[in-house]
Symmetry: C2
Subunit: 345 residues, 2 copies
Amino acid sequence: MKKEITIYDIAENVGLSPTTVSRALSNHPRVQETTRKKIVDAAKSLGYQSNIFASSLRKRKSKSIGVIVPRLNSPFQSSVLAGMEKIATQSGYNLVISQSMESLEKEISNTEIMYNSRVDGLLVSKAGTTDDIDHFLPFFKKEIPVLFFDRTPEKNNCTGVVINNTQAIYDATEHLIKQGCKRIVHALGNLQINVYADRLKGYKYALMDHGFVFDAENVISIELDEEAGERITKKILKMHPRPNGLLVSNDTSAASCLMALKKRGIRVPQDVAIVGFNNDLISRMVEPHLSTVNYPSYHMGEVAMKNLINHLDDEHEEILQKTNTITLRSELIIRDSSKRYGDSG
Amino acid sequence: MKKEITIYDIAENVGLSPTTVSRALSNHPRVQETTRKKIVDAAKSLGYQSNIFASSLRKRKSKSIGVIVPRLNSPFQSSVLAGMEKIATQSGYNLVISQSMESLEKEISNTEIMYNSRVDGLLVSKAGTTDDIDHFLPFFKKEIPVLFFDRTPEKNNCTGVVINNTQAIYDATEHLIKQGCKRIVHALGNLQINVYADRLKGYKYALMDHGFVFDAENVISIELDEEAGERITKKILKMHPRPNGLLVSNDTSAASCLMALKKRGIRVPQDVAIVGFNNDLISRMVEPHLSTVNYPSYHMGEVAMKNLINHLDDEHEEILQKTNTITLRSELIIRDSSKRYGDSG
DNA sequence: ATGAAAGCGCTAACAG
DNA sequence: CTGTTAGCGCTTTCAT
């Protein structure tokens, strides 16, 4: 391996000390402009590449941020990541990304890897299985900031960026009630995940507030994938009376429900009104278009990253450190899949 | 800041030298089992965390791999990334991800960042604008492997993982011809991107082989986003005779075409047969279901990463170094959007 | 099987 | 504004 060009080589070349070279290269104010110029030129002509390992070792900072998501391959998550990447790159941070595949075991292992990689901060959307956060303890102890987004642990001492899931589903449920739905089924994911637990609450509250009786049979907890529609539809068709309102907690599954229902000759929204969640592309491509909850995913990525970085860069102010929860605005988008009485909301 | 626990502390604690501790912790064979155990236990009880900066500085390896994609937020790319992440994590590599936003300028800047971050290898799907690869020169010079996937530069000295785009569209075009389409329009992205240039070739060859005359008017080069369908449809409707076959180079746009056509009362596939590209979820959710080309995106991620890592880990064998191109299998999936004569392919 | 010593390349006190 | 010095924590000869 060829020898690396170091600041010592540059120093020798320009007849200055390594310190000055180091300062010049990192735009330290106390270096004369002419000196800096000379150094920068020499660096370029010698083909110098700063050694980030040495720099990190000395500064105890990696300038990188870890992100752990349940799955990389999801319209929602990839949109969040896009927002995060934009801000991180702008601010000079690298993004180290891994996925937990919805498994706590993998999340723990990923967390350890991130810790050992010495990321300056960690952004996490929790895997479903449990509410365990012991594996973040090393981060807490070392005061490396951990910020949760979307799927946050229940323990309320963790900073998180979320939407108001309860309110979102409250609104959706109320909308279906106003559309004349008498039996409303709510299909959602693993109830150990706060996101779904909160949505269930919103559903219950809305029913209550409108004089409906909550019936556990109307709650279907299921993996919300592409095939979910078939499974949900089969369950619905066995119910008496047959449900005429359906809340499905993501658009992929909502779209797949729509298809499964239509395949059986059941009309949407006349026989069953459907509301999805996320406002993914697909909600605008199926017919009828899906009513859904607009989830500001890209924005969530931006906000989460911006807060983390502010926290890292503001060495003095620790204002954000004690911010508990940042709630982003989400809103119900009403489209044809749930409009049973003309255009009314 | 509290003092870090180092191998010196462990050494002192167990009465051995730092060298032995280092060896024990990295599973060097020449350490007695009992000694290793003692060291590992001490490390644990002292709360030791290996300092990866020091280790990287010494070993000149970061154990991380950079990935640059045009956009994080795309069903195709996120699926590729998921495949990459799986393999990288398995092999003990971190994934540093950034997006070029389809801009050469950002790609160049991202490449520099990756270089300065000292990634052990780089995986790139090129931004569209040009075929420029000068910004990878520093990698080539230092013999840091760069592997392209999907969108590869034309210069044929770059290793790449691809599908046979020409063949894929050849098959799709032939299929439409066999379905009785007399005028076939091909909508694709920026023709400076090899992927689209190759597809155009496949389209031309298929026309030629079936006695059709190629007409440049039938090629629409356009940004393939959610709104593309409207733009494509407007163009088609101005053509005489009206096209009755349509190849759209991604499923999002193909689906949006489908909708735009249906909105205008044009029947698919009877009036216009459509074939998309990628086999995204959406192709199975619109009606009629989209015929499309199955693009093994997840697999492409796995293969690209596996090859890169093999290259990195096999210090002796440099077999893969001279592999030029790995072509993955893709295949036409025929669904209702292009079936004009019953079930025939 | 274990240890001593040197150095990877940088930055931050401190001094001038 | 510039320089001297020391050390971040690890791995790796080379020696025993």
